[in-house]
C-alpha cells in the first residue's frame, strides 16, 4: 500500500502527547493511503477522550473523514469552561 504525508498541528493539551514536538508547531506524519482522521489519532496515540474535533485544511471534519496527501490537520481537545 502506498503512503502519504500529512501535516499535523496539535492544539492545547494535545501537544504534550507527541515526544520531541514543540507545542503548536506543525509536523509531518506518514500514513497509508486512504487513512482517516481516526487512524491519525490512533497513530499519534492521542487519548480518545481528549480528541473531539478535527479540522482538515481549516474545515471541521468527522473522525471517519478520509485524508489526502499534503492535508493539514488540526486536532483539538474539548474546551468547556466558563
Amino acid at each position: 500500500m502506498n503512503a502519504m504525508r500529512v501535516r499535523v498541528k496539535l492544539y492545547a493539551t494535545l501537544g504534550k502527547h507527541v515526544a520531541g514536538m514543540a507545542p503548536g508547531i506543525p509536523f509531518e506524519v506518514e500514513l497509508p493511503d486512504g487513512a482517516t482522521v481516526a487512524d491519525l489519532v490512533k497513530r499519534l496515540n492521542l487519548p480518545q477522550e481528549e480528541v473531539k474535533v478535527a479540522f482538515v485544511n481549516g474545515r471541521a471534519r468527522p473522525m471517519d473523514w478520509r485524508l489526502q496527501a499534503d492535508d493539514e490537520v488540526g486536532i483539538f481537545p474539548p474546551v468547556g469552561g466558563g
Partner: protein, 282 residues
Amino acid sequence: MTGIGARLRTLAKETVGPGGESLWVISLDGLQKVAEEMKLSRREAEIVALQERVLPMRYLRNFGTIGWDGQLALLQSTVGIVGAGGLGGWIIEGLARMGVGRLIIIDGDVFEENNLNRQALCVEHGLGQPKVLLAQQRVAEVNAAVEVVAHQLRVDEAQMVQLLQGAQVVVDALDALPTRLALQRAARKLSVPMVHGAIAGYVGQVMTIFPDDPGLLELYGGSRVPERGIEVQWGNPAATPMMIAAWEIQEVVKLLTGRGKPLRRRLLFMDSELGHVDVLEV
C-alpha cells in the same frame, strides 16, 4: 422639533461630535429629571432622548462606532445570558455598559471561594450568595437603565426555551458541554442566534451560531459528549474569561446593531500562551 425635544435640549448641552458636527448630550441628572417629569423608566427616557437626537453622555464613547441607530437598537434589545460565572460576569458587565436594554440572566449557583480568581461578580462579601443576585446588583450600579430579569435556576432545554422568550440573542456563558448543546437546541427553537464561548487554561474559543448553522451540535454532537473539557486539567486563570467574554460581547453588539461581520460558521480559537490565533470553518 417636538415639545419633548425642546425640553430635552434645555437639560442637555451642545458639544462637538466625533465628526466635528454639533452634538447634544444629556447627563444622568438630566435623564433622571426627564424620566420623573414624563413618568418614564430610565431606559424609556434614554430611548426618547436618542429618538430626539440627544445623546445620553454615558454612551458618548459608544457613539463613534454604533451611532444613533446602534445605540437605540441596543437599548431596545433583550439578550439572554445563561451562566453568570467567569464568562457571564464580564459579559453582563460589558452589555450593561454598552446599554443593552434588557438582560435575562440565568444561573443556579452561588459564589464560592474558588470563583474569586476570575469571576467579575464574585467579591469576598458575596460568597454564598446567588450569582444572579450579585449580577442584578452590579447592573443596577453600572447602568440603572438596564432592566434585569434574573432566574436562580439550573435549566434544562425546555426551561431555556421558556425563560429566554423575547431575547434577540442568547449568550453561552456555561461551563459544561452537554448544557451548551441544550442551549444551541433551545436557540434553534427560539429562532435566535447564539454566541458561544468556552475557556480552559490560556486558550479559548468563540463562535456565533445561527439557527440553521451546524455549530456545536456538529462539532461535539456526533459522539458522546464529555461533561467537562481540558479546563479540568488546566483550570481557569483570570485573563482567559476576560479575553473570551470580550469577543462574546462584541459578537452580541454586532448582531444587535447590524454592523460588522459575526463569527458565523467560523470558530475563533485563541491560544494566549503561544500567541496563536486560528479561524476555522464549521
